[in-house]
């Protein structure tokens, strides 16, 4: 009986208007955030060398002074790959070595601690 007496039309009004309003407000937020995101997202300047310049570059590296940059977002997986490459490179970089390995014979030094004769000749007085 109560269900019949309930003002269902006003209840549905609240539900439909409320739910639509939640969506509208959040869709507006999506648009605002997306717009700001495009403006403020961190961009990385990636040098873009044209093909011809690239070919020239192989022959005369000094002559290729002009580098064209493209503005773009560098995704996290690219960043991770670059970071890994740098890490491997720098972990491998160390002081120059001669690469000559020498094994020298070590002269056996006399030590009273290991000498049997010394121990026998120097008895406790």
């Amino acid at each position: 009986m109560y269900i019949l007496a309930t003002n269902w039309s006003s209840a549905f009004d609240v539900v439909i208007f409320g739910f639509v309003m939640v969506f509208v407000i959040l869709i507006l937020l999506v648009l605002i955030i997306s717009g700001f995101g495009k403006m403020l997202a961190p961009t990385v300047r990636v040098p873009k060398t044209p093909k011809k310049a690239n070919e020239q570059n192989n022959n005369f590296p000094e002559e290729n002074n002009e580098i064209e940059y493209i503005e773009g977002h560098l995704s996290a997986d690219y960043s991770a790959a670059i970071a890994m490459a740098l890490h491997l490179y720098y972990s491998d970089v160390h002081d120059e070595e001669s690469h000559i390995i020498t094994i020298k014979t070590v002269e056996r030094r006399y030590s009273p601690w290991s000498s049997k004769i010394y121990g026998l000749n120097n008895l406790v007085k």
Partner: protein, 446 residues
């Protein structure tokens, strides 16, 4: 073994309580009988005089003893109080032994325990009857919890909690993928569907809205809205909201599995873009301005949330950020928990309404979860880059528990699939969504 100890302790406390109650009542009856028999058995005047003198002396001692017994809480204990104390002990058990949201459930349970101790006068619901504070009676002496409850009644604690939540939340995943806001909106379906269900069960519109907000899975928002619209239902709604939030890992996975195929659960999402600090700083200011101007009743919640977040992201108020994340949050949680628990008095809690609220609450959670998952599936029909529908369920707030559930269910299908950061987007969007829904309910129903 430990569980047995707790049960034994609980039974012992209740037995002692009941025995004291019955013995006190017997004492009162015996003393009254003694008074009447002494007068009736007197035959001579001298004897009567002597007896009267004796009974006067005895009377003063027994009367003071009776008065003392009558003033103790044991004499005033009713079966309803005992049931409430028992429920409080069960909640304490769940918090301490089972670890269900202990930071909140423990103060709530103890607040419930305190307010149901008869005679202590720690909490007086009459001071807040009819949704208004009776300031005149406060002057005559209110209980400790009455004063603390003003923070709930005036909507202070939920906002302070939101400052702390904002300071602990990273909105980066949401900013990196703004579409996740839509999933946060879809998960609010639970709020509005439950509103209809509660109306059908005979609740008034303002009560139905307060019950529906349980589906937002956001404790402070639920408390804020209920304290404004239906303060009488604050106890059951808070207990239902926090209990179900603790049960998110139990409630959500079956619904998520039911609504998705194995292929959909295995969708691997694209790595999120990096979000600049500038974006993170502008976001809270922008959102506060936009939502507060559009929906003024939501301003306290959104403003507090974003204030905390700005403190976190700006990097110049490190001390304040740490304070709101720890000290302020913890102190407010204690006050909020105790006072919300205190509202669960026998008269307010032990009725059919509470059972109905608990039943509708779980429906609200389930519908909210389903709403998020279904919208994610719907979005996949139109977008090139597919979304894993499991992240939709995280739109019900319950930060970060719901996001963790998405991660766990996703890894059941493919253990190389990491959904946590993707799910954090809808998860924090759900906080904004439920605050917006609360603002809309306040606008339409207050």
């Amino acid at each position: 073994m430990r569980t047995k100890k707790y049960i034994f302790l609980l039974i012992a406390v209740l037995t002692v309580g009941i025995s004291f109650n019955t013995s006190a009542q017997k004492q009162v009856q015996l003393a009254a009988q003694a008074d009447t028999t002494v007068v009736a058995n007197a035959t001579t005047e001298i004897a009567i005089a002597k007896e009267n003198l004796k009974t006067e002396k005895d009377g003063t001692i027994s009367e003071s003893f009776i008065n003392f017994l009558r003033s103790t809480g044991f004499a005033l204990l009713s079966w309803k109080d005992l049931i409430m104390l028992f429920i409080a002990c069960i909640l304490l058990y769940l918090a301490i032994v089972k670890g269900f949201e202990p930071l909140l459930l423990l103060p709530i349970a103890f607040g419930m325990f305190l307010s149901n101790l008869p005679g202590a006068g720690l909490f007086t619901p009459e001071l807040f009857a009819g949704g208004h504070v009776d300031w005149g009676k406060f002057a005559n002496g209110a209980g400790l919890l009455d004063y603390l409850y003003l923070g709930v009644k005036l909507g202070i604690y939920p906002c302070l909690i939101f400052v702390g939540v904002g300071a602990m939340t990273d909105f980066g995943p949401m900013l990196a993928n703004p579409k996740s806001l839509l999933l946060g909106a879809a998960a609010q379906l639970g709020i509005f569907a439950t509103y209809l269900g509660a109306i059908g069960l005979g609740f008034l519109p303002n009560e139905a809205a307060s019950i529906g907000i349980i589906g937002g899975a956001d404790g402070p928002t639920a408390i804020f809205l209920t304290s404004k619209l239906a303060p009488d239902l604050l106890g059951p709604i808070a207990v239902a909201a926090y209990s179900y939030m603790a049960l998110v890992p139990v409630i959500q996975p079956p619904i998520m599995r039911l609504l998705t195929t194995k292929k959909e659960r295995g969708i691997k999402m694209k790595q999120l873009r990096m979000v600049s600090t500038k974006e993170k700083i502008i976001f809270p200011v922008l959102v506060t301005g936009f939502i507060s101007l559009l929906l003024p009743p939501a301003a306290p919640l959104i403003g507090s949330l974003m204030l905390g977040n700005l403190m976190r992201e700006c990097g110049v108020v490190e001390r304040l950020s740490k304070t709101v994340q720890n000290e302020l949050m913890n102190i407010t949680t204690i006050f909020l928990g105790i006072t919300v628990g205190a509202t669960a008095t026998a008269s307010a809690f032990l009725n059919v309404k509470t059972l109905e609220i608990l039943a509708i609450g779980i429906v609200a959670f389930s519908v909210g979860t389903a709403g998020g998952v279904l919208l994610a599936k719907f979005m996949n029909l139109f977008t090139k880059i597919k979304i894993n529908p499991l992240i939709g369920s995280a739109g019900v707030s319950a930060v970060p528990m719901a996001a963790r559930v998405s991660q766990v269910v996703g890894q059941e299908t493919d253990n190389s699939n990491f959904l946590l950061m993707h799910a954090m987007g809808p998860n924090v969007a759900g906080v904004i969504g439920s605050a917006v829904a609360a603002g809309i309910m306040l606008t339409m129903l207050s």
